[in-house]
């Protein structure tokens, strides 16, 4: 069983506000390790406008030797919001970054639009950076991975990896909208697609992770390779009344030999909500990365990252 040692809330959005676009939230952290720094991309929001949020993505550069030292925060969003009527007009969240063969950073992000019968729909877009990851230019006004027969709506939470010359994208796809107290709530599951070029994708078209709780929604399928196995940390919640402790997000774990077939083993995840504090009600959106011989996890606490994100470090030799 993994043993994660919690180090506390690392990035507090309130301490780093930028312009009007970074006011609350630091969600879905994703790391790029650089020479002297660890760059963490995350998603953030302005104050809500008539109760509705838009979301942007930015980054923070952390000192590689002491992750709690924030050396720089992006002054502007890494991606613009989409044009009128396009899939990402109201949000670019979350984002996942990797290098392509030419050494350029490429990002996959979830674009948000607003609907009338349900609050939103989401599809996955792609951007390429020409300035070393400071900003990204979209490859088009439309999505690179969108709705299909078996994935009808809410394609979100992209996590891009490159294994064995293959581009691998883990993401979530909506299964159904359920009505809870007169309000539509989405149920979504972890999915996967592969590509030889990062643009044309072949969907696996099946749920990768078995469901354990009622109308379970799964997110943040974060995969890394270690000791001959693929490890996935992800989060899950109940379908209804999930904005509190009882039915809110927890972190789960699954393991695979081939990255296609997964065995869920939440009992080995080794991290849970704290008895109180910033992560005392829920924990979610894990991102696991290796740095200088150690394995770390960034994750979100209460209200899905409204305050910021925190750090946990794996006790050596306890990875499942």
């Amino acid at each position: 069983m993994a043993n994660w040692i919690k180090k506390g809330l690392l990035f507090k959005t309130a301490d780093h506000q930028q312009g009007d676009w970074m006011q609350e939230f630091a969600q879905a952290p994703c790391v790029v390790v650089r020479d002297d720094t660890v760059r963490v991309y995350f998603s953030t929001r302005p104050k809500p406008d008539s109760g509705l949020y838009v979301s942007y993505s930015g980054f923070a550069d952390l000192d590689r030797a002491d992750l709690f030292k924030v050396k720089k925060v992006s002054a502007k969003p890494i991606l613009s919001l989409g044009k009128l009527g396009t899939f990402d007009e109201f949000g670019t969240y979350p984002v996942s970054v990797v290098k392509n063969d030419e050494g350029k950073y490429v990002c996959y992000y979830a674009g948000w639009t607003r609907c009338s019968s349900v609050p939103f729909n989401v599809a996955i877009g792609m951007g390429i950076s020409n300035d070393d990851g400071e900003t990204f230019t979209k490859i088009g006004d439309g999505p690179v991975l969108s709705y299909s027969l078996d994935e009808p709506f809410v394609l979100s939470g992209p996590k891009i990896r490159r294994f064995n010359n293959l581009w691998c994208l883990w993401y979530i796809a909506g299964k159904k909208w359920i009505m809870v107290n007169g309000k539509p709530e989405p149920v979504y599951k972890i999915r996967m697609a592969t590509s030889s070029d990062g643009i044309n994708w072949k969907k696996e078209n099946r749920d990768l992770i078995e469901t354990r709780v009622a109308d379970e929604a799964q997110a943040s399928s974060d995969v890394f390779y270690k000791d001959g196995k693929y490890h996935m940390f992800f989060c899950y919640r109940y379908g209804a009344n999930y904005r509190g402790k009882e039915f809110g997000y927890r972190i789960g774990y699954a393991c695979s030999d081939d990255m296609y077939n997964w065995t869920r083993m939440d009992e080995k995840v080794g991290i849970d909500v704290s008895s109180d504090g910033w992560d005392g009600e829920m924990i979610s959106y894990p991102h696991v990365f290796e740095l200088d011989g150690k394995i770390h996890m960034f994750y979100l606490g209460n209200q899905v990252g409204k305050e910021g994100f925190g750090l946990a470090t794996l006790e050596e030799g306890t990875l499942v």
Binding site: G85, S116, G140, Y147, L149
Partner: protein, 320 residues
């Protein structure tokens, strides 16, 4: 030059019971030829609260020489999509396709948005009762937005030629911002895709195949193709992007293009051989054409004034 003989308005929805509270509109007639009849599908409108409406599919069966009506369907040929899906708020149009002894149809599904009125995608459905009813193959679309075709993919018309499937369809290039007198205005173009199985489609992303004759904001819709001898003939409708609803000089009219290789299309509206009448039901507008063959004769169905509020008419090709 094509030579068409107009046979006049052959179906007015006000003369028939269409079920529900459907009254006006019989839009985008498209045919399935059966043993003893020609089944013509169309979209009518059911009104909902707050002045909104949804488009629903009906059909009318004609004798094969169109001398009389055999039957008019007043049931839902295809139910609307579930909460949050792409075809929740309407299906318009539907394009039936016989493949061996099976009957499929490609649909254009509508769902409402907040910043713009609507988004569309192409669906795929199947019938097991000679086209009386259809059911979905999946909850989601079979063909939707892509990086260079960001919005409003729809109006799919599919034919099998030389062992593979060819789809002619439209995609939205962009939405123009609203003005004092105009709501947001869409700009869409005709494109082409290819498939071996009718499900996985390849496209030249963002490539419009029909040259504009008005200006870059020209809106092109509803391509329909018929092979006669060795030439492929395409009809479609086109209009200005704004002030097209009540201004006949800017509204829909029919366009024409031809190809001998299914790749390069030559636009030649002057060879269309059909135009608005001087008076009567199609003197202000012509739109949503459908060309097809029955018993060795080629026909053209189309809508007239007010986008088909009062039904559709027929023309017959002079084959000499």
């Amino acid at each position: 030059m094509m030579h068409w003989k107009k046979l006049g308005q052959i179906f007015n929805p006000l003369d028939h019971d269409l079920g529900g509270n459907c009254e006006y509109f019989a839009q985008s007639p498209q045919t399935l030829v059966l043993k003893d009849r020609v089944r013509v599908y169309f979209s009518t409108r059911e009104s909902q609260e707050h002045g909104m409406f949804v488009s629903k599919i009906r059909y009318v069966d004609f004798k094969k020489d169109f001398s009389s009506i055999i039957e008019v369907a007043n049931h839902d040929v295809l139910p609307l999509g579930e909460l949050g899906t792409f075809d929740e708020h309407g299906i318009f149009p539907i394009n039936p396709l016989r493949v061996g002894d099976k009957i499929y149809a490609y649909t254009c599904g509508w769902s409402r948005r907040e910043s713009v009125p609507v988004e569309t995608s192409t669906g795929l459905v199947q019938s097991n009762d000679d086209g009386k009813t259809f059911s979905r193959i999946g909850l989601g679309p079979v063909f939707s937005a892509s990086p260079a075709e960001p919005v409003l993919v729809g109006d799919s018309f599919v034919q099998a030629y030389n062992g593979s499937y060819h789809m002619f369809y439209i995609f939205g290039q962009r939405w123009k911002e609203s003005t004092l007198t105009e709501p947001p205005a869409r700009v869409y173009k005709i494109a082409q895709a290819w498939s071996d199985d009718g499900i996985t489609w390849e496209r030249n992303d963002g490539k419009a195949i029909i040259a504009d004759v008005l200006n870059e904001d020209e809106c092109q819709a509803l391509p329909t193709v018929l092979k006669i001898s060795e030439r492929y003939h395409m009809y479609f409708c086109f209009r200005e992007a704004t002030d097209f609803r009540k201004n006949p000089s800017r509204g829909y009219r029919l366009g024409y293009a031809y190809s001998d290789d299914l790749k390069d299309w030559t636009r030649a509206d002057e060879l269309a051989g059909i135009a608005k009448s001087k008076s009567g039901w199609d003197n202000e507008m012509m739109c949503y054409p459908h060309i097809f063959e029955v018993d060795g004769e080629a026909y053209l169905l189309y809508n007239g004034n007010e986008f088909g509020r009062f039904g559709f008419g027929l023309a017959k090709l002079n084959m000499n």
